[in-house]
C-alpha cells in the first residue's frame, strides 16, 4: 500500500500519545494546556486520515479554539504557578496507574481478539494483487489513500477495490449505501442496534417526520463523505431530538457557568 499514509498515521499517532502523556505528567498547568492543544492537532490530523475532514476542522475550532482558550484564560486568571510535586507517594496513585494500565491492556486485548490478523494479512495480499491489476490496466486512479481498513465485503457491484480505495471509492461506497437506504433494501438503523426490535414501528411525531424525499437526496456534488452536508442533514432528520437537547444543554451550561463564576454581590 501507500507509503505516506501509514507514515503520517504513525507520526500523528505517536504525536498524540506523547502529548497526552505530557499533559498528565507536566507540573505547570500552563504547559499542560499548551501540550493539550498540540494533542488536539494530532487528533485533527488523524481525523483527516480517516477522511473526516469536517470534524478535523471542527476539532481544531471547538477544542483548540474554544475550550483550550477557556482553559488558558482560567489558568491565567488564577495565575497558577508551578505546583510542587505531591509530597508523599500515595499508595492509591500507584493503584490508579495500575488500574489505568489494566484498563488499556484489557481494551487492547478486547480489540485484538476481535481482529483476526491472518484475515487482515489475506486482505492485504488480495488488495495488493488488485492494485497491481489496476496498475496494469492503467485506469484512472485517484489519489490512493491506502488506508485499507478491512471493511465488509465489497459493495455489490462496485468495481472499485475497496481495499485501496481512495476518496472517490469512499464516496461511491457511501452513495451506494445511501441508495440502498433509499431503495429500502436496508434501513438506516439496520444491524446498528442488534437487539433493536425492527417490527415495533417507531413513529416520530409528524412534525419531526423526515421529509421522505429530502432525506436521501444525494446532493449534486459527489464526494459527500466527511463533509458537513450529510452531518447537517442527519442533524435535522434522524438526530433532531439529540440536536435540540444539546441546544438546551448548552443553554443550561452557559447560565450555570455564568452564575457560578459571577462574584457574589451581597
Amino acid at each position: 500500500m501507500g507509503f505516506w499514509e501509514p507514515l503520517f498515521f504513525w507520526l500523528f499517532a505517536f504525536g498524540a500519545l506523547i502529548t497526552s502523556c505530557a499533559v498528565i505528567v507536566m507540573r505547570n498547568p500552563l504547559y499542560c494546556a499548551l501540550t493539550l492543544i498540540a494533542d488536539f492537532f494530532c487528533f485533527a490530523a488523524l481525523y483527516v486520515l480517516l477522511s473526516a475532514h469536517f470534524l478535523a476542522v471542527v476539532q481544531i475550532l471547538v477544542y483548540g479554539g474554544a475550550i483550550m482558550v477557556l482553559f488558558l484564560f482560567i489558568i491565567m486568571l488564577l495565575n497558577m504557578r508551578r505546583v510542587r510535586p505531591a509530597s508523599r507517594f500515595q499508595v492509591h496513585y500507584a493503584i490508579a496507574t495500575i488500574a489505568g494500565i489494566m484498563m488499556f491492556l484489557f481494551a487492547a486485548w478486547a480489540i485484538l481478539s476481535a481482529v483476526d490478523m491472518e484475515e487482515v494479512a489475506e486482505e492485504r495480499e488480495r488488495v495488493a494483487e488488485q492494485i497491481e491489476e489496476v496498475e496494469q490496466e492503467e485506469e484512472e486512479v485517484a489519489l490512493r489513500t491506502a488506508s485499507a481498513i478491512p471493511g465488509p465485503e465489497a459493495p455489490v457491484d462496485a468495481p472499485v477495490l475497496y481495499a485501496d480505495v481512495n476518496e472517490l471509492a469512499v464516496e461511491q461506497a457511501y452513495a451506494q449505501t445511501l441508495r440502498a437506504w433509499r431503495d429500502g433494501h436496508a434501513t438506516p438503523s439496520d444491524h446498528k442496534y442488534p437487539d433493536f426490535d425492527p417490527d415495533r414501528t417507531y413513529e416520530l411525531p409528524p412534525s419531526l417526520q423526515p421529509d421522505p424525499e429530502q432525506a436521501h437526496v444525494v446532493p449534486g456534488r459527489e464526494g459527500l463523505y466527511g463533509t458537513f452536508k450529510p452531518v447537517s442533514i442527519m442533524l435535522v432528520n434522524r438526530f433532531v431530538i439529540p440536536f435540540e437537547l444539546t441546544a438546551v444543554l448548552l443553554l443550561a451550561s452557559i447560565v450555570g457557568a455564568m452564575i457560578l463564576a459571577k462574584r457574589r454581590v451581597a
Binding site: E5, C21, I24, L50, Y63, G100, V115, P230, F239
Partner: protein, 111 residues
C-alpha cells in the same frame, strides 16, 4: 526477512490501530483524572478521554462508510464544550473560597 513482511503488514494502519490508539489515549486520560491533584489538569484529562472516544467513533464511521459516527462525534464535542464551561466556572468558584483547587481538599461532601 519474514519479520519485515509481518512488520510491513502491521505498518499500514488498520481499524485496530486506531482503536488501540484511542484506548491508549483514553487510559492516559483516565490515569490523569485519578492521579493529578489539580482540578484543571483533571478537566484536561477528561477532555483527552472525550477526544479518544471521538477518535474511535470516527474510525468506526470510516470502517463502515457511514456518517453517523461523525454526527455523534459532533455531539460529543458540543457536550465537551458545555462541560468544560461549567467545570471551569466551578473551579473559579472553588478557587475563590479555598485559594487552591486541589481535588483532595474538596471533601466537604464526605459525610
Amino acid at each position: 526477512m519474514a519479520w519485515v513482511s509481518t512488520l510491513i503488514s502491521y505498518w499500514e494502519p488498520t481499524l485496530a490501530h486506531y482503536l488501540l490508539l484511542s484506548a491508549a489515549v483514553f487510559s492516559i486520560g483516565l490515569i490523569g483524572v485519578m492521579v493529578r491533584r489539580n482540578a484543571l489538569i483533571v478537566f484536561m484529562s477528561i477532555e483527552l478521554m472525550l477526544n479518544s472516544v471521538n477518535l474511535s467513533f470516527i474510525s468506526f464511521a470510516r470502517y463502515r462508510f457511514e456518517m453517523d459516527g461523525h454526527v455523534f462525534a459532533f455531539f460529543i464535542m458540543a457536550v465537551a464544550a458545555a462541560e468544560a464551561a461549567v467545570a471551569l466556572a466551578i473551579v473559579i468558584h472553588v478557587f475563590r473560597h479555598k485559594r487552591g483547587v486541589n481535588v483532595d481538599e474538596m471533601q466537604e461532601l464526605k459525610y
